[in-house]
């Protein structure tokens, strides 16, 4: 689907800050509020906007245990449906946050979130590895997040300029 320049600009703004008020968006894009609302509706209906979410640094929340692992998965593609069917069987698990088909040494990259490392270990050994198309898995645990979805974690962008300049 071909979008207009304004629509793309609108999406870029929302992607950076999904909470931006409609009135602000209207002023930024030099449009009126009704036009913005119409555009939003259209993009939601077309499933171009799929949802609005926050990027949370869970590491800062005390007592919130959480572990993320990236798992490289080698699979045997199924005749007729290629990788898609295997991928679907994997992404249906609620603990799976993302699945990508990759080129290179392995086929699927699966991102899994759990409360503890052993919980993820159980998921891999009991659920993922036992799927009959799965040949092998390699699990990498994420130790620290520096940047996620374009957002740098734990980084204050201070305004270092003096208050008034010529």
């Amino acid at each position: 689907m071909v979008l207009e320049k304004k629509e793309i600009e609108f999406l870029e703004l929302l992607e950076k800050n999904g909470r931006m008020e409609v009135e602000t968006l209207a002023k930024l894009l030099d449009m009126d509020v009704k036009e913005i609302e119409k555009m939003m509706d259209k993009l939601e209906k077309e499933k171009i906007i799929l949802g609005y979410s926050a990027i949370v640094d869970w590491a800062k929340v005390l007592d919130y245990e959480g572990v993320t692992a990236m798992i490289d998965v080698k699979v045997t593609p199924k005749r007729g449906v290629g990788f898609d069917k295997v991928a679907e069987r994997i992404y249906r698990f609620p603990e799976v946050k993302a699945v990508y088909l990759m080129s290179g040494a392995y086929d699927l990259s699966v991102s899994v979130q759990g409360r503890t490392m052993s919980e993820i270990g159980r998921f891999v050994s009991e659920k993922l590895s036992t799927l009959d198309s799965v040949i092998s898995t390699t699990t990498h645990f994420i130790l620290k997040k520096y940047k996620h979805d374009g957002v740098i974690f734990d980084h204050e962008e201070d305004d270092r300029r003096i208050v008034v300049t010529p």
């Binding site: 600009e9 703004l13 800050n17 931006m20 602000t24 209207a26 002023k27 930024l28 894009l29 030099d30 962008e157 305004d159 300029r161 003096i162 208050v163 008034v164 300049t165 010529p166």
Partner: protein, 391 residues
């Protein structure tokens, strides 16, 4: 015994008025949590690839002087950039000089051309440094006022009225600081015909050229027969968010540029070497960053202009730079009163228009190179402040 103290200062410096912005800065800096719309620089940090290039240059040991006129590689890049973006061709060997900011380039240009007593036309509202630099070079700054009813566009008749036998040059700032006004090709052609008729030199300060939002930018020397009488001034501060690197350049007729290099070599020697390496990277690989920043400035310009209109203040839509120049005459306050009271009551710093010359009275300069979060809050506070005067 006479108590009159001897002064060691030169008369020129003694007579120089301190910048109006300076006074205002001192007031603002005594207060906490001020939202500042008073800054004349990008809120972006220099693009990462440019910073990296400077690291790399240091690692390689590039810490010595460069040629007086600047690294030839950089001059070649500037030349290529001016040709491809603005259709003006300069020989990097002898028609370009790299300076410590565009400010040094303005100073060199004026010192290279002014004889004692020469008059230089300054278009107002104007950047605060032009007139003092003219005076320091021994000339007389002669203001020409522009009017908001012409969207602050310079009218050629106005220049003609101001010209005397002593007029040597005219300083144009396009896009203009503080009004954000952009002069288009047709308007420049009309100005060029007056310039030619009276045999003037033009200092064309095009530091904001990259930041034009609605129409294509025309560089003054690209107008017919203007290249031989124009000193083009620009730099890296605004478009590439490199204010602190202090790097600018001037391009112009060989004779003038060589004279500028003569002054530069005795006073400055050469611009900082690591900054020059960074600037090469900015010109070769900086286009994407500039495009992104420009898009963001355009959106914020729209936001701020709409906000002022909602408050009922008249504000022309500036085509470039990152300033708006709304009228505050509705409130009945002078621009200084407005700025000072706004700062004290609502903690928002704006620059009173009168510091940019007489025709700036009744206006304020607001820079929108500030985060959206800050801008939204600032606009709320200004609206609250203005509504007090409309009851």
């Amino acid at each position: 015994m006479s108590t009159k103290q001897k002064t060691y200062l030169s008369k020129t410096v003694e007579q120089l008025k301190p910048s109006g912005i300076r006074r205002f800065f001192e007031l603002a800096s005594t207060m906490d949590n001020v939202i500042s719309l008073g800054v004349g620089e990008p809120d972006f940090v220099t693009p990462w690839n440019v910073i990296e290039a400077s690291y790399h240059a240091l690692e390689q040991g590039y810490t010595a002087y460069t040629a007086n006129a600047g690294m030839i590689e950089l001059r070649e890049e500037v030349s290529r950039y001016l040709k491809s973006n603005y259709e003006v061709e300069y020989n990097p060997e002898n028609e370009l000089i790299v300076t410590v900011g565009a400010s040094e380039a303005i100073d060199l240009a004026l010192r290279a051309i002014i004889n004692p007593g020469d008059e230089v036309i300054v278009v107002e509202p104007s950047f605060v440094a032009y007139s003092p630099i003219v005076s320091l070079a021994g000339g007389f700054p002669v203001p020409v006022q522009t009017d908001s009813k012409d969207a602050f566009k310079l009218q050629p008749e106005q220049i003609e009225k101001t010209i005397t036998s002593k007029t040597k040059a005219i300083i144009l700032c396009n896009p203009n600081n503080p009004t954000g006004t952009v002069l288009g090709k047709e308007e420049l052609i009309k100005i060029a015909s007056v310039v030619e008729k009276y045999d003037l030199i033009v200092l064309s300060d095009e530091i904001y050229a990259e930041l034009t939002y609605d129409e294509e930018f025309t560089s003054f020397p690209s107008i017919k027969r203007m290249k031989e009488r124009t000193i083009l001034i620009s730099g890296f501060s605004k478009a590439f968010a490199m204010t602190g690197w202090r790097l600018g350049y001037a391009a112009g007729p060989k004779e003038i540029i060589q004279a500028m290099i003569k002054i530069h070599q005795y006073t400055i020697m050469s611009a900082p070497t690591m900054a020059q390496h960074a600037a090469i990277e900015a010109l070769t690989n900086g286009e994407r960053s500039v495009r992104e920043m420009k898009k963001s400035y355009r959106q914020r310009r729209n936001f701020v202009v709409h906000s002022f209109h909602e408050m009922g203040l008249s504000c022309h839509i500036p085509g470039g730079a990152f300033y708006v120049f709304p009228s505050i005459s509705e409130t009945g306050l002078t621009s200084e009163e407005f700025a000072e009271q706004l700062l004290r009551k609502e903690k928002v710093a704006v620059v009173p228009g009168n510091v940019f010359g007489k025709s700036g009275e009744g206006y304020i300069r607001c820079s929108y190179a500030t985060s959206m979060k800050q801008l939204e809050e600032a606009m709320k506070r200004i609206a609250r402040f203005v509504s007090e005067f409309k009851k």
